[in-house]
């Protein structure tokens, strides 16, 4: 299922494994037990956040370990099935709201007020508009995302779907599943989709 490459961590584990006397499965189980005893619930962050779904379990691996084709397909199929497109059929919201959502990193932390809408924090990991110099590089640059692709219906559906559930298209993606996990509302996902695709959005200038 996994193809381990020799990493420093991998080597150290190989050395330690025998002595610590745990199989990989046992170590995974023991780590979870220790974590369950090491966190306490606070605010909106309850202990059930340590309960992993299938994708989280299968994706708790180093990036050097590539999941098998079978595992990849299983994750993507299940996540694709989770996407709920808007009932009104409209996928593009207001890019100005989308920009605000892209700038905000709050939401779902134990320190956040659950009544305040979450952000998507896109800029933490992606370049978007040219004007914002403070952007991260964990994900690819999205500058000119719509200009390069247009805003045809399939592109709109892909973009909305990718924000809704990134793992429908890339198993074990680093990107949060904003719709699937209830981080963003339907309207917020429309707004972010508009930020990416609207010709007037600063991303496409």
């Amino acid at each position: 299922m996994k193809m381990p490459r020799t990493t420093l961590a991998g080597l150290a584990v190989a050395a330690a494994a025998g002595c610590a006397g745990m199989s990989d499965q046992e170590a995974t189980q023991r780590a979870l037990e220790v974590m369950q005893a090491s966190f306490s619930e606070r605010g909106q962050a309850k202990l059930d956040r340590l309960n992993q779904d299938e994708a989280q379990k299968l994706c708790s691996i180093p990036p050097s370990v590539v999941p098998s084709k079978e595992v990849t397909e299983r994750i993507e199929k299940a996540n694709l099935a989770s996407i709920r497109y808007p009932a009104d059929g409209r996928l593009l919201g207001d890019w100005r709201q989308g920009e605000r959502i892209a700038q905000s990193g709050i939401g779902k932390q134990f320190s956040d007020d659950p009544k305040v809408a979450s952000g998507a924090n896109c800029y933490a990991c992606h370049q978007l508009s040219k004007a914002e110099l403070s952007f991260g590089t964990i994900g690819p640059s999205l500058y000119n995302f719509g200009k390069l692709r247009g805003a045809s219906e399939p592109i709109q559906r892909y973009t909305y779907g990718k924000v809704y559930n990134s793992q429908a298209f890339t198993a074990c993606s680093n990107m949060p599943r904003f719709g699937h996990n209830g981080i963003l509302t339907e309207q917020q996902i429309k707004d972010v989709t508009a930020l990416l695709l609207d010709p007037d959005s600063p991303i496409n200038k």
């Binding site: 700038q103 905000s104 990193g105 709050i106 939401g107 932390q109 320190s111 956040d112 952000g119 924090n121 800029y123 933490a124 110099l133 403070s134």
Partner: protein, 156 residues
């Protein structure tokens, strides 16, 4: 004399009185710094008001003042700024941050024998021009630099 001067400053309070006194050569800014915190100047809301309150009417733009600061600060809570004046007879160095609620940030009196070169760290609320006001040989000079403040970290 000293007593009456302080009384004037206290009761007069307003920038206008100070400016008049500066203009008349009765009070030197240095004297004010050594005695009373300049409430009037620190309370002003704009750079022009602050300059007026400091008695800096008609400062001349000067290339002999260098503001050493990063063009982009990773965090506005701590922005290192050094100001160096190459103007002979520099008496004071004052730092103003245009977009801060109260632009006047700090003012340094430079006695003879002290280099006209000070370094400190300030808070800057948002991207802003910063000004260095230097008094040298009784005249005021000004320089500016833009500092961009960025959002950083995980954002939460």
């Amino acid at each position: 004399m000293l007593h009456s001067r302080r009384k004037v400053l206290k009761s007069g309070g307003g920038a206008g009185v100070l400016a008049l006194l500066f203009a008349a050569g009765i009070v030197r800014p240095g004297d004010v710094l050594a005695q009373e915190w300049n409430q009037a100047a620190f309370s002003t809301k704009t750079v022009p008001e602050a300059l007026r309150a400091l008695g800096a009417t008609g400062p001349a733009a000067s290339g002999a003042i260098q503001i050493k600061a990063p063009e982009i600060a990773e965090n506005g809570a701590v922005v290192p700024i050094a100001i160096e004046s190459k103007l002979p007879g520099t008496e004071s160095i004052t730092l103003l941050i245009e977009k801060n609620p109260q632009p006047l940030a700090a003012s340094f009196t430079i006695p003879a024998g002290t280099e006209p070169n000070v370094s400190t760290r300030v808070k800057i609320g948002e991207s802003s021009d910063v000004y260095a006001l230097v008094k040298a040989d009784g005249k005021f000079y000004l320089a500016k630099k833009e500092i961009k403040i960025t959002l950083g970290g995980c954002g939460g």
